[in-house]
Symmetry: C3
Subunit: 322 residues, 3 copies
């Protein structure tokens, strides 16, 4: 099954980054440590290092996301790679070429890395699998930039970087993830990362309709009441509420959602006094988060963005070395 | 009010380029002098200088304009910057993220420069203001690449470069701007530049419906009769007639407009013998200008394009040093 | 007439690459030899050479083709050029600017090379002609990246590279081109290249409705029966069947076409034992080619893609030197 393709080599090196699930704790820390060395690069006058000079990075976005594409484009350019952006909805697949033929062609052009965003869960796995069966084996690397509801590993890693930066030790934290966990690849990646890194208490908070079953088996505590769930937490990760959800039967209205699950200053007061607030963006202000919180002193939302560039540089440079 | 945000630092350095209005004469000349040093670069075999190496320039085009975007992209690449193009109509704002959240995100990615095109007057001011209030203060620079009917300062500056190149001294010139002044950000930027640089006689020529009120206060002479207005001028700047205007009640028809305000060889004969003809492009041949004039010996329209690259390189390099 | 614009200088140097028709055999071999020197570059760790450093290459795609655009973009970047992509359907031509005004503007920005894809035959000739009459003369080069049904010279050249790579000598080969020859610019370019290079037997195979008249004058043998046409050939070039053809009266159905003209293992058995199979891509599997053949041991389809980058680098570097 595609979602099981190994992303580590037999020697334990990172060959692709497809999901945080199953990624060893040491590998996560290695990525975060490498990212730390890149945080300074973006601050310098000349924000470039030559680690990927002459490499060809392809942004394969089968689903439109200017924001995520931009972060990978910047990360690759700061590593001195050549970047080619392909929005594949409007491209050769419309000429009837199959996804895997497109991949074969790009491999034949000596691509070094594919950054893949796809609306269907498992697409990056399928691509990695295909690459490893063909001429790209061993020298073409795949990064999952978000696949369906499944995973968004670089988001999970940058969230971990942010938590480590502000909280230091993972093993004493209470972390709450609030919102539409059911449809969120970010939540899934965060839960895997947090439990791997030894966070003793991971909570999810949301309405019954937006919490998937089986979370307890992962060691996660589920709360439907937000005030209860926020009590004493050190980190709150607020999830974006897709506006599509509102149109379905899953939710009553944005106002009602905000009342119950919107992160307000008043609800945040129940968390630990130095609790940090995170959000993967883009935010719906007044839906899942109050502006006073988003722009307030506990918000580290823009730090996440800054660290996200460094984490993507780290992933790319580690892959390029493997 | 957004349109009043200061683009100069307290020490008089250029922090942003938002409008020519209020820009000191010395600063305009400094930009033109710097541009002169770049004109040669585009002529060289290796058309690159390393002044913006490792800098990240974002083209934020909220309004589609391949032509203007291309000039900034080339200018930035010839300065060795990394350029990221964002067409924001189809992007995260469609996901409900606000303009200013988008800006905050790009600042958090360590952007160095925003080139902003927007259909609404004042948008680049708003962005500059927001940047200066946040983490980008002092190191993120905004260039207005055209905002609504308000300003298009790099076009104004390249027009001044062109006039200075062909005419030398501004203080003895008669310059006529012909056409739809009412809707033209180019006209507005040119008028401010010309009066600041000491041009003694600035004329505008056009039908009553397309000339805004209050121009006389800026020291501008208004002509509704083109032959009268062209008499003895040294420079004619022909404005593009937006085809939308024809559909409204403002104008009778393209043919009628051409008859009255189209720049023909016959009308041009009334100007000074060495009069130069300018146009910001793209031209509507046979509407505001006759092909014989556009391609004729007095046309410097393509020189404007060449100088435009050098002027944009100059603005970017001056901003990067501030 | 536009299609007759000379692409060679008086001294026989390549000024533009517009068509293979009339290109001397020595020039074709020179391009292939230069390409051979670039094949290694894409294999290296740092896939870049500085031959076009500081040059500005514009991809002018009036017809959408992500695939072809990507190959030129990669080739130019591996030569260290600055690349600007312009999709001109959505651009200034929609503002009423003429094609030639757009070209004049880009020349005025000191473009070095235009890679032109256009739905109309002759458009790149028109552009080359216009460039040579104006300021771009002698230093702006045009590459035809496919114009209407007319020509696709870099595809023809990469096909020749592939044949030379696998077969060595052109002068003893039997080459069959199968499919929709009538609408194929690839077929036209291949036929000119093969006959110029001295291939003694060039065959085309296809239904009467898809074979143009007059091929016999070019020394080409026409077959309507595929089995007959494939007998003993050393090279099969399968053409893509545009799905539009099926909707017209030219063809019965995809199934019927596959039955008669689809390249299957069974039909391929009639060719020479070491016959190679080529396809310009993107493939319609199950229409013009069976997957077992496309992915089989005789297929060199992905080699074509790899060589295509080297051939485009060769053409660009030869033009830049002229």
């Amino acid at each position: 099954m595609a979602l099981r393709h190994p992303q580590l080599t037999e020697r334990g090196e990172l060959r692709h980054l497809l999901t945080i699930e199953g990624l060893p704790r040491e590998m996560i820390h290695r990525i975060l440590d490498t990212a730390a060395s890149f945080v300074g690069v973006s601050d310098r006058d000349v924000k470039k290092v030559p680690l990927l000079r002459g490499k060809s990075v392809f942004n394969l976005f089968f689903e439109n996301s200017t924001r995520t594409r931009t972060t990978f484009e910047i990360a690759a350019k700061r590593l001195s790679a050549d970047v080619v952006n392909l929005n594949i909805n409007t491209s050769s697949t419309s000429k009837g070429e199959s996804l895997l033929d497109t991949i074969d062609n790009l491999v034949a052009m000596h691509a070094d890395m594919f950054v893949v965003r796809h609306a269907e869960s498992g697409a990056p796995f399928l691509i990695a699998q295909h690459v490893d069966r063909g001429r790209g084996r061993g020298h073409v690397h795949v990064i999952n930039a978000g696949d369906g509801r499944h995973a968004h590993p670089t988001q999970g890693l940058l969230d971990m970087y942010t938590i480590r930066h502000f909280k230091g030790d993972f093993t004493r934290l209470r972390v709450a993830i609030v919102g539409d966990v059911l449809h969120s690849r970010v939540a899934r990646s965060d839960i895997h990362a947090l439990t791997t890194l030894g966070v003793p208490e991971v909570r999810v908070i949301g309405p019954r309709t937006l919490i998937p079953g089986g979370l307890e088996q992962l060691g996660v505590r589920v709360f439907n009441d937000m005030r209860e769930g926020l009590r004493g937490v050190d980190v709150v990760i607020t999830l974006r509420l897709q506006s599509e959800r509102m149109r379905g039967a899953l939710l009553p209205s944005a106002q009602e959602y905000f009342k119950q699950y919107g992160l307000t200053q008043e609800k945040l007061a129940l968390a630990a006094p130095d609790c940090i607030v995170m959000h993967p963006g883009p935010m719906n202000r007044g839906v899942e988060i109050e502006s006073a919180v988003a722009d307030g002193p506990r918000s580290v939302i823009l730090d996440q963005v800054t660290f996200g560039i460094a984490v993507r540089m780290a992933v790319m440079s580690i892959l390029a070395q493997s």
